[in-house]
Amino acid sequence: MLIVILSVLIAVMLAIILSRSLNMMNYVTVFHSVFVALFPVYLLVKGVLPAVFHKSRYLVVDTLGAYEILITGVIFFFAAIYAKGYVACLIKEGELSKANVKLFYLGYNSLLLAMVLAFSSNNLSVLWIFAEITTIVSAVLIVTLNAKENIVAAMKYVFITSTAMLFSFIGLILLFAASKNGSGAATLNWDALLQASHQIQPQLLFFSFVFIFIGFAAKSGIVPFHTWLPPSHSKAASDVSVLLSGSVLNIGIYAILRVYALVAKSSMGHEASMMVLVFGIITVGIASLSMLQKTNLKKLIAYSSVESMGFMLIGIAAGNIFWVLYFVAAHAMVKALLFFSAGIIHRQYGSMSMAEIKGVFRLQPLAALGLIIGSVAIIGTPLFPMFMPKFYIIASLAKASLFSAIILLLFLLIAAGSFVWLILQLVTMQGAAPEPYEIYPSMKIPILALILLLLVFGAYFPLPLSGILAEMVSLLGLGG
């Protein structure tokens, strides 16, 4: 199976390198995303999970990995469709030079590949390597636009996350030493560590977790390591923002969840949970307060990603992993919808300033609808997929600490206020506006599809999904 996958991936890269046409590069990218999205579905339907790719067990796709790959594949698929028209717009407006298009698509496909390999990594060192590769490739994607601010944003991203990731590697070194001394089996394979976690000295396990947390928290934009996220996500091209927000951020939370599972059952589990909770609440608080002052649409959405990452940490600390995992998928869909819509707004007004978005319903009705539905969904309104995870995670937190739940609710209300303000701006701001900017149909399709998906998943919670989520919780050993 590994040979088939590698062959497809090499073929994709070669096709991009040899391609002379923009359309060809786009079709190959769409094919690549479909392949990635179908790969976990195939494993799930065939019932071959966990799929072990080598006897070393460095690469193993388990249910959690397959779930994350599926989310990644779907988000990349929508972004690839959107990119067909969007890249043409960027070239037309002189924001992307033709010479950089190939680099853009190579970066795009390399990022997808690195993401899949990161989620397939059973060995934590391998996971660290692929997480770092995603940083490099994401930075390349950010700087492909012809804007000086993008270089500054990308450098900030590389510098902050890489420095923090060095601490993560120290955590891995300590975990490796602890596993050697505790269980006798020196390993960084996650499944082996989970089995041997009770033999590892709890204080040392916690010590390792703290270091690993620092790096991967930076990858997810957790406060105080979040300062790279708003500039990077807001300066990047909108379809790249979708990839960064809906997919790349998930790597950090995914790694934290894996390592948290090792420490949670030890005698230091309570301390780990308290630490994660404190970081989560501070992140939600700082992000919500920052959102209040934002007048730049993409920065508002970017800060909302910081807030969502903090919320996921709170869910982990509250022990409600089931809904955290559902939240990951819902968040990816909503963020994709918001950034796709923001991309059209940027084409229309040439600016992201909310004060300049006037008469949007007349000029770009679909983008306006996307922004309104996305805003309503992200604040956790009932009948949208983020309602249930938000409700159940807050309920779990309230059971553990009512005071923390009240503080969290307060911050979430502030964040909701920012999006309500955005909706009011969109609905009420009228004025002399330019003619409608001609948007390619390929930019509209993902928005329509995502609106439909959000409505379906908001109204209906599929039972098979419930089973998959429960299986992942059991895999992590964090049930009950």
């Binding site: 390198i17 923009l22 680099l103 060995n123 590389v158 890489s162 490796f176 030493a177 602890a178 960084l188």
Partner: protein
């Protein structure tokens, strides 16, 4: 060479590392700073080679060769080129900490790390020799972090990152044969190179076109891409 002699030589190298780290902190002249970093890496490479002689594991030999190629030659050469093009000869700008206070803080860091790790050295299975190495490695990481925070110029911050990287590698030598160490080292160097290349492109004349020429090595390989 006997194991005892190798251990003694490693100890000597570690003392050299301490001295060189103090020099990295206090250097204001950029050329001198880059040369000191290169020497720092040479000592790290020597430690890796001594580990190879002592334990016979190939990973240490690869680490030693890789350190020479990237940290002793490639990165310093690129840093010097950046420094020459940007025409910056000294870095006199500091946040909060000046060189003298930085050296005192570094001493404090080493003591704190020594005390912090004393509580877990048995759990990590470290003998006094390896414990000393782990303390030195971790201290280097924190001192590199301090350089990143205390210096303003991005080129000096990059050297801070590289000192941190040397610390991580040193730490891993004393803990055991860390899996994927070479791959991780390559990646860390790659990240440093990305940062330095960006400085080079960004700092040359602040021209975005110039940066994109450097960014896109495929420009000359492929003909113009048609829109259709």
């Amino acid at each position: 060479m006997t194991i005892q002699l190798i251990d003694e030589l490693i100890k000597v190298c570690m003392v050299l590392l301490v001295v060189l780290t103090a020099l990295v902190i206090s250097r204001r002249n950029l050329i001198s700073l880059i040369n000191t970093y290169a020497l720092h890496s040479l000592v790290l490479s020597a430690i890796a080679f001594l580990f190879f002689l002592g334990e016979g594991a190939n990973v240490f030999l690869y680490a030693s060769i890789l350190t020479i190629i990237t940290k002793l030659w490639l990165i310093p050469a690129l840093l010097k080129r950046t420094q020459k093009i940007m025409k910056i000869y000294t870095d006199l700008e500091y946040h909060y900490l000046h060189p003298t206070s930085s050296i005192f803080l570094s001493l404090f860091i080493v003591i704190i790390v020594f005390l912090a790790f004393s509580g877990i050295k048995d759990d990590l299975g470290l003998d006094p020799f390896n414990y000393f190495g782990v303390v030195m490695g971790f201290s280097l990481v924190l001192i590199g972090f301090m350089i990143i925070f205390s210096r303003i110029k991005i080129i000096t911050k990059t050297i801070g990152y590289l000192v941190m990287e040397n610390g991580v590698v040193l730490l891993s030598f004393f803990v055991g044969e860390m899996p994927f160490l070479i791959e991780v080292m390559v990646l860390m160097d790659l990240l440093a190179l990305v940062a330095i290349t960006s400085i080079l492109g960004f700092g040359m004349n602040s021209s975005i076109e110039e940066f994109h020429k450097r960014l896109n090595p495929f420009r000359n390989w492929f003909k113009k891409v048609d829109e259709k």
